[in-house]
């Protein structure tokens, strides 16, 4: 039991999960689950109580029992006890102060990555302000490699997302070319397929691979199908660079996605076996998002931000190239408005980075959320300052297959321009040599023809 007293009023929190939930900044998903604080004061009382508990609490008092959940087992079994000694004496509040200290630099944070459990990250996140989340994230650097180098401080990559409602090859290629001509696609050129048909997946993979090899683009491609489909595509000889999968923070959530750690391991090994990476072997691409566990009725009465951090424990077990929190996709019953989406995006980026993940963010919203492009501009700019590894590049920010709004090719150019950020170095060199960017990293588009345009006519 956890308690906090303010002016003779005693706030009692029966379990650690309840304390975490009530300390979480207001969001509709926790209210929908009936676990949010009932008043503003109760929320801050919970944050005060949370600030006082020791970090060791989170490895002693497990919010989902070890026997019940393979993700809890993963968290405990892979906890870096040696490096944890550096912070083992701290409370959650003390941990915040430690993270903000000038002496806590990139090297210190890198060493601590696996000493920080998801629950520790989530707890400190709840008492941190937006500027804290940005400041600490900006100190982290998580670099991953496949055919280029992603996550270098000062770089911001994009996933080119050329979706089409019927997976029409020419339609997809038109968006791919448009995106590349706007400097997009260094994180990955990744299609969300409209169907779960394996033949279509293989066909799309082959086309993307052909474009990439013909123009020697230093990037990777992906069709974001279920990992079991990708395993079958690999068996059938498809050119798979990255294995994709949506994941969540409880065993039950993953089970609703049709995966578990063993299936993920199988997909990871199958993809590694192709040895297609030239600079590195990070072959996994994961997507996550607050609210997925509640949506799957698999939340164990734990708040959605803590469960999201637990999903990162799953991700980091597989050394991913990319982890993407699709923050505003889930809808207003989980994140109601721009304010909630912005905070959640920064929280996810922070927790992921702290835990050592190459975090990107799909800065996005649906039309039934109380949000608009201005909210996305704010989150995009904040994530740019926080050092986010990558964002999405969607034509005009309007995904005509998934019916939601994300960030456009132009948005990426904006944030690079205003914050002095660059594409991945290998990709940048290629863009310059292809005549797409000039030496000032400005789009040229002055020539009347471009060799990429020839792809579409073939």
């Amino acid at each position: 039991m956890y308690k906090h007293t303010i002016q003779n009023k005693v706030y009692v929190f029966n379990t650690l999960a309840e304390l975490l939930a009530k300390a979480s900044p207001l969001r509709s998903g926790d209210q929908l689950a009936g676990i949010a604080a009932k008043s503003y004061q109760e929320r801050i009382a919970a944050q005060m109580a949370l600030a006082e508990i020791a970090l060791t609490t989170f490895i002693e008092d497990l919010i989902i029992p070890y026997e019940q959940d393979e993700i809890t087992r993963l968290i405990i079994d892979t906890h870096d006890k040696e490096n944890f000694k550096t912070i083992a004496h701290l409370t959650v509040g003390g941990f915040r102060d430690f993270l903000l200290a000038h002496s806590t630099d990139k090297e210190v944070l890198t060493k601590l990555q696996k000493a920080i459990t998801p629950e520790m990250a989530a707890a400190v996140c709840k008492i941190m302000s937006v500027q804290d989340l940005i400041l600490v994230s900006s100190k982290c650097e998580v670099i991953t490699r496949f055919r280029n180098t992603l996550g270098i401080k000062g770089c911001l990559a994009t996933r080119l997302q050329p979706n089409h409602p019927t997976d029409d090859i020419k339609g997809i290629l038109a968006s791919v070319i448009d995106g590349i001509l706007f400097g997009s696609g260094d994180a990955v050129i990744g299609i969300n397929p409209a169907t779960d048909n394996i033949a279509t997946q293989i066909q799309l993979l082959k086309v993307l691979d052909e474009v990439r090899t013909r123009y020697q683009i230093p990037t990777q491609t992906c069709v974001l199908s279920h990992i079991t489909n990708t395993i079958m595509a690999i068996e059938q000889g498809a050119p798979v660079d990255l294995a994709f999968q949506s994941i969540g923070g409880t065993e039950k959530t993953n089970s609703s996605f049709g995966v578990n750690l063993s299936i993920l391991r199988e997909g990871h090994e199958a993809t590694l076996s192709l040895s297609r990476g030239t600079l590195g072997n990070n072959v996994m691409y994961f997507e996550t998002g607050q609210g997925s566990s509640l949506s799957a009725n698999a939340h164990h009465h734990i708040d959605q931000q803590t469960l999201e951090a637990r999903a990162y424990a799953v991700a980091r077990a597989f050394n991913p190239l990319l982890v993407n929190t699709v923050v505003g996709f889930i809808g207003p019953e989980y994140l109601y408005n721009g304010k909630q989406i912005i905070r959640a995006g920064l929280e996810d980026h922070f927790c992921g980075k702290l835990m050592g993940l190459p975090m990107g963010c799909d800065v996005c919203y649906t039309n039934h959320a109380d949000a608009d492009q201005d909210d996305m501009d704010m989150l995009l700019t904040l994530l740019g300052t926080a050092g986010c590894n990558f964002i999405m590049g969607v034509p005009g920010a309007d995904d005509i297959m998934l019916n939601y709004q994300s960030t456009s090719f132009h948005d990426a150019l904006y944030v690079r321009q205003v914050l002095g950020l660059r594409p991945a170095p290998e990709f940048e060199q290629w863009l310059i040599s292809a005549g797409i960017l000039n030496e000032k990293l400005q789009i040229t588009h002055t020539s009347t023809s471009n060799k990429l345009l020839k792809i579409i006519s073939q």
Binding site: G396, D398, H445, T448
Partner: protein, 245 residues
């Protein structure tokens, strides 16, 4: 603003490509176009179901109707509490019970969902084409449902003793389609049914799936459900077949 040299790409997709640029940013006209599309989606989200017009139009087709509402109080409540949109309010339960007589083959429900204008525009036009395909069917009075989610069809169908429910409902407004209608069909409607028990025909609108094709698909699915006495994922294979027709 610079003109772009690759206009020809645009013929291959409805995605917002070849937009040009002002510096590295979107040109003014494209920014305003996106903003207009978003405003149409927002207005669709807050549109209200036009009960009097719908009931008049249904009457012209020789169909009686009833109105119900979920437990949702207003639009904000609707967006925050999907569960409330799946439950009838007390008054609606009473009224439906009074209207419920002999068992029927089919109950058609017109529901606002996330875009009332979608059903204001499309529902009667679809029903008009569907009815002639269901000549031998006993159909309950059409139910017009406000602040409704798809699953509100279950308690409605249950009370009206319907073998199958067909709910026509406004889909989540997209930028390119603010007023698209979806149709969900359920064999043996019961409170607590999950989505795997339903079949869906989506994107019904002149710019998407035409009324004629949608009516054909729906009638085909209805016949299949009646014959096989199932619905949902179990009918998935037949879905593929009719796509080929």
């Amino acid at each position: 603003m610079e003109k772009k040299p690759w206009q020809q790409l645009k013929q291959f997709t409805n995605a917002r490509i070849s937009l040009g640029r002002s510096g590295g940013s979107m040109p003014t006209n494209e920014v305003l176009k996106v903003r207009m599309a978003h405003s149409m989606a927002k207005d669709a989200l807050h549109s209200e179901i036009d009960i009097s017009k719908l009931s008049d139009d249904l009457q012209t087709l020789g169909l009686a109707c009833m109105t119900v509402q979920s437990k949702v109080a207003d639009r904000t409540d609707y967006l925050l509490h999907p569960d409330k949109g799946r439950v009838l309010n007390e008054l609606s339960i009473t009224q439906l019970n009074m209207g419920s007589k002999e068992p029927v083959d089919l109950c058609i429900i017109i529901a606002d969902g996330l875009s009332a204008d979608a059903v204001n525009f499309h529902s009667v036009k679809l029903i008009q084409l569907l009815l002639p395909l269901l000549t031998s069917w006993i159909v309950a009075p059409v139910v017009i449902a406000s602040q409704s989610r798809v699953a509100l069809a279950d308690p409605i169908g249950e009370i009206l003793k319907a073998q199958i429910t067909l709910i026509l409902i406004g889909e989540r407004p997209g930028l390119s389609s603010p007023n698209s209608m979806g149709a969900y069909l359920t064999y043996l409607p019961q409170t607590g049914n999950t989505d795997e028990k339903r079949n869906c025909v989506s994107n019904i609108q002149p710019e998407g799936l035409s009324y004629e094709t949608a009516a054909f698909k729906i009638s085909y699915l209805l016949q299949q459900m009646k014959t096989k006495q199932i619905s949902g994922v179990a009918l998935k294979d037949d879905f593929q077949e009719i796509r080929l027709l």
